[in-house]
Structure formats: structure tokens, C-alpha cells
Amino acid sequence: MNFTKSFRNTFLVILLSLIVSACATKTTTTKVEGQMQGDVYTGTDTVKYLADGVPDRVFFATNESILTTKSRDTLRKQANWLRENSSINVVVEGHADERGTREYNLALGERRANAAKDYLITYGISADRISVISYGKERPVDSGSNPLSWSKNRRSVTVKAN
């Protein structure tokens, strides 16, 4: 069931990105070439690494908590790393951009952090090794007020807890 769901999501994301890129050729919605797909950040500017080749964060579309193909790839790497380092526990921090009301964004950040946590659990990481915290829009990593900055801030970040 999980498989079909994630398959469906993958399909949706691919479809969505096709539509968006189709639009992008006509309009100028994606100004920053190669840094965003739809409005999900795909660059590496703000990304840190838990270990060699293991990015610490994944990015989300506006108002969404769906994991993109790339996000799932990153989380699988995190899960592998956590499996190899079984003494390490993590906190998944959920974040939102500044273009939403504070209270809703707190809930949205929590939803995003849990989307990442659930995926790690699916890949065999024990739930008690992962805690979540939402910062809503309180801890942006990019302080600009533009679509690219916002896309970097819509994220969940996996941080070592010990």
C-alpha cells in the first residue's frame, strides 16, 4: 500500500514537473534556471551534510508536505547513514516560508517534519530515534523576500541530536 502510494506520488511529481516546465517555456515563472523545479528548491546552496554524500535537508512546494523524488532519494541516504550509525539519534526540524500566517506555518512545519520522519521509519529507522520540532517560519536560512529564498526556507532538516 505504501508502495502504491509512493508510486502514485512519484508519478504526480513527474507529471507536475512536466506541466510546470511546459509552462515555464512560455512564461517566465521559473526565473532562476536550474535552482527550482515548480517551486521546490533543487539547488545545494544551503544544504549541509550529515556525512559524505548525505544531505541534511529536503525541500517542499508552497503549502505542501509531499516528498519529491529527490527528497525521497535524500531521505533514503539519511536512512542508510542512520542504519550504519545506530548510536546516533536525530531531530527533524520542519520549516515554512514567510508567506503564511504564523500559527498555520507552525502546523505546516510539523507536518513537513513528520513527512520526512515517516519516510525514515519506512526505511527501517526506529521511531524513537527520531524526534520532530516545528519552527514554522521562525528560522529561515535565507532572509531574502523572493521565490528562490522562500523555496530554500520550505524545508525539513535532519540534525544530530546527540
Binding site: 503549502n63 508536505s65 514567510e98 508567506r99 503564511g100 500566517t101 504564523r102 500559527e103 498555520y104 507552525l106 502546523a107 505546516l108 510539523e110 507536518r111 517534519a113 513528520n114 513527512a115 515517516d118 520540532i133 516545528s134 519552527y135 521562525e138 528560522r139 529561515p140 536560512v141 535565507d142 532572509s143 531574502g144 523576500s145 523572493n146 529564498s149
Partner: protein, 448 residues
């Protein structure tokens, strides 16, 4: 922490002329001409002047109090206080019996006069409100209090005048609790702060060691509820601002947020987030019983009670996007009420009961608006790059909210400030704060 003067105002009602005067302010219209009013400096004798300087470091507490009144009345947008330079009559003489022709000449329709004395560590203030056109007194009151309380006397006089001339309760003897903000956007330091409604007497209630958000007053006492990230555990707290004691609200295995008191002050209503789902809960402050109000896989947050405690308005994305809903206080009869274009958030029920204020996001702009409690009659009061979180004045006349400016690509140019706007959409103005500020909440009237 904060010492609130627990003093009792001795109020003598030594003369009240009954209504049927000529001046009255029609506050149902928006674009009205503010009433020209003369606020004469309150007269102070020589002996009181000495005491005023000694005890308050203020040369003339009489004119200071009249400035507080003048500023309040002006800020309301309903009054136009006239320039004191045009006044022809001396304060002491005017207070005994104004020469109405002189005041009519400068186009004043109402006049406030008064007298202060400071003796034996007591401040006594008398004031009178005069109807210039009818040529008679409308109200006369006297207060005795400790001298350090002089600003509050100014606020109380403002409330009395406002109520006498508009027929509605005032909102000047009130305070605003808010979040003070400093530092760069990526590492903002936030503290709880409280100030008088006119921006004076700011006090900081937390040190900024942990993130704090969304403070709200209990409408019936000097308690505040807010969200604190103390020890990196975001939880709803209860703070007594008189004693400084605080406690966590309930024992939840996860983030609690978006707290608000019920209008009777007996419950806290808030969201609890678990496993990616936020629902609404209440906790009874007397017996600590926790109740779950909503149970839905969507985000349910920003709850706010109706003034009769019978209904709750809240924010939910159960339709797919943020919208405003109303339900009975037990969680039954959930109805969506926002159907306009865009997203809706932060619903707050008016203390009068007839309206719900909200934030709306549409096409990249943020609006503060009001609608009736069934969702009809939506009116947008103000549009901006970013603004949210309206809070009602206790008389349901004015909304205070916060507004953020756009940053450039380096993150420069960002600011967060408090603003207020009249329910009619007129009289939008910035509320002065010592630092950047957000999440304002308006107290009830302190004296009543």
C-alpha cells in the same frame, strides 16, 4: 516581575448632566469629520508644581495629563483636538466656568478642563467636559490616586470622554502585549513585551533566551498565555504578569500552540500537533481537564471563542487550503464560512459578537478584513505586502495587527511593526514600539 499598581481609584461623581446635549459623535459612518475638541491643560497650583517636580520629575503634571488625553482622542480618529495656542481662556478660569463664546470662536464643539493637586503623596484630579454649543457642562469627575499613576488618569479621562460622546465604552486604559523582535531575520531574538495602549511604559517579560510567540491576554485577569520554545520544547505557557510565575499548560507529548483564553477566562483553547496532524483542544484552568474539540486529519488551528463562549471559529485546511470555520464549543456542527478567493487565516471573534476578523492571502498580497459570523458581508480593511494576526480592542472598534516589509535579496530592509485600523477601514496608523514588534494582543479595560 511587573508590578501592577493595585490601587483603587476613588471616583466621585459629583455632577452628571443627563443626555439631550447637542454634540454626539455618529460612529456608524466611516468617513466622518472628527469632532473639534479643546483639551485645556489641567490647572496646577504652585504647591502642587513643587510636589510634581519632586515626586514625578515632571514640571506640570496637569498639562502632561491633558497631552495624554489629547493624544488618545486624536489617535481614535473620531476627535480633532485643537491647537492650544489658539486658546483664549486660562486653564483655572475655564475650569470654573468657560466663556463659551471664546471656545466657539475657535470652532471647538467640546471642551475638557480640569485641575490637579499633589498633596501628601496623593494625586487628585478633577475634570469637566463641556458642550460649547449648548453652553453647559456634560460631565464632571474626580479621581484620587498615587502620583506615579498620572498617565492612567489621562487614559481614564479619555475613556470617560469617549464614552460620553460616542455612547460606546472607550479602550484607552488598556495595554498591549506583543513580541519584541531584534536582530537579523535568520536569527531573530524575540521577547515578550507589554506596554500601555499608547506605547508608553514598555516592559520586557522575558529575556530572549528562548523563542516566544503569540501572547494573548486573559480578558478577565492579568494572565497571559503564549508559546515558548523553552528547552526546545514548543509548548503553551500561562504567565501571571503580576507575580511573574509561569507554568506549562497541560501535559502534551508534542507541540502545543495557537493558545487563546475563552472570554470567561476559564479555559485555554489551543492546537496540539502530533504525527503531522494538528487538532484543537481545550484545558479547563480550574480542574485541568483536557478536552479534544476537533478530530480531523487536516490542520486545525488558530481557534477563537465567541464572546458568549458557545461557538468557536478556527482555521483549517480540510478543504485543501486554509479556510475559516465555525463550530459549536463542543466541536459539533462544523461549518466553513470563508468562500472568497484566496486563503484565509487567524480568525478572531469580535468582543461585540457580530464579526470575525481575519487575515487573507490572495495573489501575493495580505489583507486584514472582517466578515459576519456566517461568512457574509466580507470587508477588506487594508492590503499590504505582509500583515496578519488582528486583535480587537475591548470595545470591538479597533483592530491591532502586525505588518512586515519586504527584504531585498540580501535580507536588508526588513521590519516588523504594529499597526491599528478602525473597523470602518479608516484611520490606519502605526503603533509606536521601542523595537520591531509582532503578535499584538489587546487587554480588556484595566479599570471598570
Amino acid at each position: 516581575m511587573i508590578r501592577i499598581f493595585n490601587l483603587t481609584f476613588l471616583v466621585f461623581l459629583f455632577l452628571i448632566t443627563k443626555a439631550n446635549s447637542l454634540i454626539e459623535i455618529d460612529i456608524t459612518r466611516g468617513n466622518l469629520d472628527p469632532l473639534p475638541i479643546a483639551v485645556s491643560p489641567l490647572f496646577q497650583d504652585d504647591n502642587s508644581e513643587k510636589n510634581s517636580i519632586n515626586e514625578l520629575k515632571v514640571e506640570n503634571v496637569g498639562s502632561e495629563i491633558s497631552s495624554v488625553v489629547e493624544n488618545n482622542l486624536k489617535t481614535s480618529g473620531l476627535f480633532n483636538p485643537l491647537s492650544k495656542e489658539a486658546f483664549l481662556q486660562k486653564p483655572d478660569i475655564a475650569h470654573l466656568k468657560p466663556r463659551f463664546e471664546d471656545w466657539a470662536l475657535i470652532k471647538a464643539q467640546a471642551l475638557i478642563t480640569g485641575k490637579v493637586t499633589i498633596e501628601n503623596k496623593k494625586l487628585k484630579v478633577e475634570f469637566r467636559l463641556w458642550d460649547i454649543l449648548a453652553g453647559r457642562e456634560m460631565m464632571a469627575l474626580a479621581f484620587t490616586t498615587v502620583p506615579s499613576n498620572w498617565r492612567r488618569v489621562g487614559h481614564i479621562i479619555s475613556d470617560k470622554v469617549y464614552e460620553r460622546l460616542t455612547g460606546e465604552k472607550g479602550y484607552f486604559d488598556t495595554r498591549i502585549i506583543y513580541v519584541s523582535e531584534e536582530g537579523p531575520k535568520t536569527a531573530r531574538v524575540k521577547k515578550l513585551a507589554i506596554m500601555d495602549q499608547d506605547g508608553f511604559n514598555t516592559k520586557y517579560l522575558t529575556l530572549g533566551n528562548e523563542l516566544v510567540l503569540t501572547p494573548r491576554f486573559n480578558p478577565t485577569s492579568q494572565m497571559v498565555t503564549y508559546l515558548s520554545y523553552f528547552k526546545n520544547l514548543p509548548r503553551v505557557y500561562l504567565l501571571d504578569i503580576e507575580t511573574g510565575t509561569q507554568e506549562v499548560v497541560g501535559d502534551f507529548p508534542g507541540m502545543t500552540f495557537a493558545p487563546r483564553f475563552s472570554p470567561d477566562g476559564k479555559k485555554i483553547i489551543m492546537s496540539f500537533a502530533k504525527d503531522g496532524n494538528s487538532d484543537i483542544y481545550t484545558m479547563d484552568l480550574e480542574n485541568r481537564v483536557v478536552e479534544r474539540i476537533t478530530n480531523h486529519p487536516s490542520i486545525d488551528t488558530s481557534p477563537s471563542y465567541s464572546p458568549d463562549n458557545k461557538f468557536i471559529t478556527f482555521n483549517s485546511d480540510r478543504s485543501g487550503f486554509q479556510q475559516i470555520y465555525v463550530m459549536k464549543a463542543d466541536g459539533s456542527n462544523v461549518k466553513r464560512i470563508s468562500f472568497g478567493k484566496g486563503l484565509y487565516g487567524t480568525p478572531v471573534w469580535s468582543p461585540r459578537g457580530d464579526l470575525i476578523a481575519f487575515t487573507k492571502l490572495h495573489k501575493g498580497k495580505f489583507y486584514i478584513g472582517v466578515m459576519r459570523t456566517d461568512g457574509s458581508g466580507e470587508r477588506l480593511l487594508t492590503e499590504n505586502y505582509y500583515q496578519e494576526a488582528p486583535s480587537w480592542s475591548p470595545n470591538g472598534r479597533v483592530l491591532i495587527f502586525y505588518r512586515e516589509t519586504k527584504s531585498n535579496d540580501k535580507g536588508e530592509g526588513f521590519s516588523a511593526k504594529l499597526w491599528s485600523i478602525d473597523l470602518t477601514g479608516y484611520n490606519e496608523r502605526q503603533v509606536q514600539t521601542e523595537t520591531d514588534a509582532s503578535d499584538p494582543s489587546w487587554s480588556s479595560l484595566l479599570s471598570n
